[in-house]
Assembly symmetry: C2
Amino acid sequence: MATGADAQPPKSVLGRALGVLGAFSDSSPELALADIVAVTGLPPATAHRIVAELVAWGALERVGRGRYRVGMRLWRVGALAPIARTLREAALPPMQDLAAVTGHVVHLVVRDGFRALFVERLAGQEDSTVRSRVGRDMPMHASGPGKVLLAHSPPQLVEDIVARGLPRLAPGTITDAATLRSALDDIRRTGYCLSYQEMTEGVSTVAAPITDGEGRVVAALAVVVPASLSLQPFVPAVQLAAAAASRRLGRQPAE
Amino acid sequence: MATGADAQPPKSVLGRALGVLGAFSDSSPELALADIVAVTGLPPATAHRIVAELVAWGALERVGRGRYRVGMRLWRVGALAPIARTLREAALPPMQDLAAVTGHVVHLVVRDGFRALFVERLAGQEDSTVRSRVGRDMPMHASGPGKVLLAHSPPQLVEDIVARGLPRLAPGTITDAATLRSALDDIRRTGYCLSYQEMTEGVSTVAAPITDGEGRVVAALAVVVPASLSLQPFVPAVQLAAAAASRRLGRQPAE
């Protein structure tokens, strides 16, 4: 989200304030005023005034020595977003069951532009080395849930993602367009995705789509297992949990 | 968070934009432009311009027929808040274990001013009638986790909350100051709280404090059980889960 020090800062006051919020990221969750100035390109006095107003409202909070983090009030507003309030609430009970039955990490993932975004992550029985985190994103082509979402996206998105390149992240990453298209066909045909060490070496996933009340694929559910295990036995449990989440999501009142 | 139509709208552009975000709430997660105008007291043209800029950035999203909800990008920024990124991540695995072992709803709660705020809620084995929801708040005096947090708050906060009144929410709500102070003493002495139908009729809770690396109580963990059950047998499991969360929280790098 960082725009870089050489970017033109937005002209509107609100645009500048949103730029300050956007300076905080998964890799920089805590920033000094000087960092905010560097990322946004705002004059220090302007940045200081905006930060003070954001702190007063509760969008940011001061954490000592002139450092800032995102505040509780902004978290509360963000928790009103449909992916948190509707999707996550529908998916959570089946996710808990899937984590309890398999003992492995379980992910809930949605598409955010060209990337796949972790909406929820439940722990497995062992402290895992998977570097997933709620709010973090990853490439669409290099993971099981990413490919499930891609398989059910408009064809143009697949073309755009192929055109942007398919970088290798791990030994199993699909890096050529024909193999990716064939894998997406398989996902649409079978209703699930087996992904072998595509994002992280030593880690594989089994993923399945979650649909809303109109049958649209809105998310993917995945279980993360050591690459040494056979994946096929996890398929029924993942499909069952995804079906339970879909059913719960379809039942949600429109509000 | 609503300020009401008769409130003076803030003078700064940023203050007005924050007022628009603050118009969204747990009871009003989706608003039409006319609702936003009514809640903020902004002129319609100003509200429209602010909403358009918030939508363009991703803080809000349009959901058809001129209605708006909180957007995915604001959720992502909110997920960077320490209660989500540090506290919730530390507490989640023991919460999953507590929900799996007991089969009941599990809550993670922090203090937000004079109120207690649900940071996380895991499901029990049965569809529950508990009206808890992530991001929703409740009175401090009328629940187990609220009383745990109150027991470990500055004494002045207890006085302030008593002065604001102790309304009855359910048959078991503590409504007089002496009984409340005595209950808080018990919590500090025993290290846990049994709460009998204080917030919701038919529902009781067992709660225990979560401490950070410096031993400060930063949150409360609670299991929610039918009022017909004996609470004492749940105490060791809740205390153990709270201790595991505290240990994990103390291990977190400061970043």
